[in-house]
Symmetry: C2
Subunit: 338 residues, 2 copies
């Protein structure tokens, strides 16, 4: 096998870049009413997905997303050798119960809303190393289960400040192989934990922007690139508040990404009509926008090369209530048309 | 680079097996009083590790374990390219706060008590593929934080049935490289989610034994081996109850492992004197027993080949209270003397 290349301090360039040969997005009704409504594979009529708890609803989303992506790749679930997946819930409740039936060896991952990047990175690494013919990356989030997990039960009806984001109810799945698609993963920049001492769990954008800055900066150093070498630099869920902080932070480091930057949390909802304040968030957010909007543009060659950077805020109810800060993490994945 | 080999349905054999070049175990006082007390690298005088919360105590354990393992490998933390780590807490509270300062790109993992196997698998895969010169695998659990996370606050003083295990307060860290150690990871068998419909969160051994059976069986099929091809087959934390179920289940499948089986949860505490009922558990359990007992025997060549199978019970407070079952997962790692 050809040699994969360590690049700079923390990146890898794949000699034979893995291809994304199938992808799918499954969302709830609110996401279906947003600007990307026409592009999702499946929009549920109600956020319960026919289940009696939010957690089971999220498991069902994951199941549907994986089945759809595997089907689009012309495969059956049994052909997936390893599955890399996660969600936002304690002990990955949605992921493990959603993927029991698939019967695929499974790596459970947690990187908060950056997990879509983490799962794509590991799934690509396995393909490029010859560990598997087919792997899959799968993540989800659900507004109902996430509010309950991190903030207040929905019935409490708490007020949300303008800096708060709205957790996307959605799941995205991606099937990878050595060849056969029109989008390839040419490199990855796994991220470090970055802590700027922020403690506001209603301002995730500010918590995550420094981590996004660190990973994007390192990606450009490691691959010796400039922002214009990418058609888009797409963060996961910084929202409007985090976007401003990110572009400012990167300017201080000598990179102006204002011409290339896009954020999945900004794309997924209509700012005027949908009342989601700072934008969308959750590890379903970057996943469904990747499947519904980013990959199609790469497939068609409208974009040639994109840096996809899902961002995560590292907190739990317990760490927050114990007065800990909210560090961030972001994983970079380089996607190219082929 | 030479080709790594997919083996059978779900295993990988490494052409150039990664070496474990440094390892460390850090435990609390109860573990220090157990049969392996003389073998741990660091025994804290009290389970608080000088911190004011159980979660911070667990973070401190991880920090100490990683530093010690990296030091024993003759490295500095900055030389570790990727860190693979996890714990049992919601949103990996202990792991992310414990590893902020290390400044190493980080993959957060959750596989319940199987996470030690998951982290070693991914850390080995990265080395064998040439993605990194050095990687590290790091896991922990803490009795105080785990009881609070999964069952009752300690102050509640609830009664524990005899089938219950005692969560190990401990953290184990492992540094991997292409060469330079006396133990190598020659293959891995990542596990599937196995659900036998058990719902008793005070009998984790019964929940996990079917998953251990599945992974051990698959390992032997994939590598075409018999139990006697291993000096030991070592599960993570089945305890006395789970051990019996595992040997029975494997006998039904035609494999008698009673001569080779060992369980970290059984080794870590003294059954007569320490009143831990069915044994020890937690993703710190398999990690500290690996570092303190299994690796030394492999290093010295007392054992030549061991199948190490950390086992995890996939539940959360929420899934349990919503009446869900408790599926299990187990990841197999083949360790050999060199």
């Amino acid at each position: 096998m050809a040699v994969n290349q360590m690049m700079g301090r923390q990146s890898v360039e794949f000699h034979d870049p893995p291809h994304i040969i199938g992808s799918a997005s499954v969302v709830g009704p609110k996401e279906g009413e947003g600007p990307l409504g026409g592009e999702f594979d499946l929009i549920a009529p109600e956020a319960e997905f026919g289940e009696d708890t939010w957690e089971k609803a999220e498991s069902t989303m994951q199941k549907e997303a994986l089945q759809t992506a595997v089907g689009k790749a012309g495969l059956s679930p049994g052909q997936i050798r390893y599955l890399y997946g996660g969600d936002l819930l304690a002990q990955l409740t949605a992921t493990f119960f959603g993927n029991e039936e698939a019967g695929v060896p499974m790596f459970g991952l947690y990187g908060a809303c950056s997990t879509c990047g983490e799962s794509l990175t590991l799934a690509a690494m396995a393909i490029a190393a010859g560990y598997a013919d087919y792997t899959a990356a799968l993540t989800s989030s659900h507004f109902g289960s996430a509010e309950k997990e991190f903030r207040f039960p929905l019935g409490y009806g708490n007020q949300r400040p303008l800096s708060a984001t709205w957790t996307v109810t959605g799941s995205g799945a991606f099937v990878l192989a050595a060849k056969g698609g029109h989008v390839k993963i040419t490199g990855v920049t796994p991220g470090k934990i970055v802590d700027m001492g922020i403690r506001d769990n209603m301002n995730m954008g500010a918590c995550m922007a420094p981590a996004a800055c660190d990973t994007i900066y390192q990606n450009m150093m490691d691959f010796n690139r400039q922002p214009q070498d990418y058609d888009r630099i797409i963060t996961g869920d910084l929202g409007y508040v985090g976007q401003e902080i990110l572009t400012d932070l990167l300017k201080e480091k000598g990179f102006d990404i204002s011409g290339q930057h896009m954020d999945c949390g900004i794309e997924v909802y209509d700012r005027e009509k949908q009342d989601t304040h700072a934008g969308g968030s959750g590890c379903g957010c970057s996943a469904v926008v990747l499947a519904a909007m980013v990959l199609p543009k790469l497939r068609q060659g409208i974009w040639k090369r994109v840096l996809f950077v899902p961002t995560g805020a590292l907190l739990s109810k317990v760490s927050f209530n114990e007065g800990q800060t909210i560090p961030g993490i972001a994983h970079g994945v380089v996607l190219e048309h082929c």
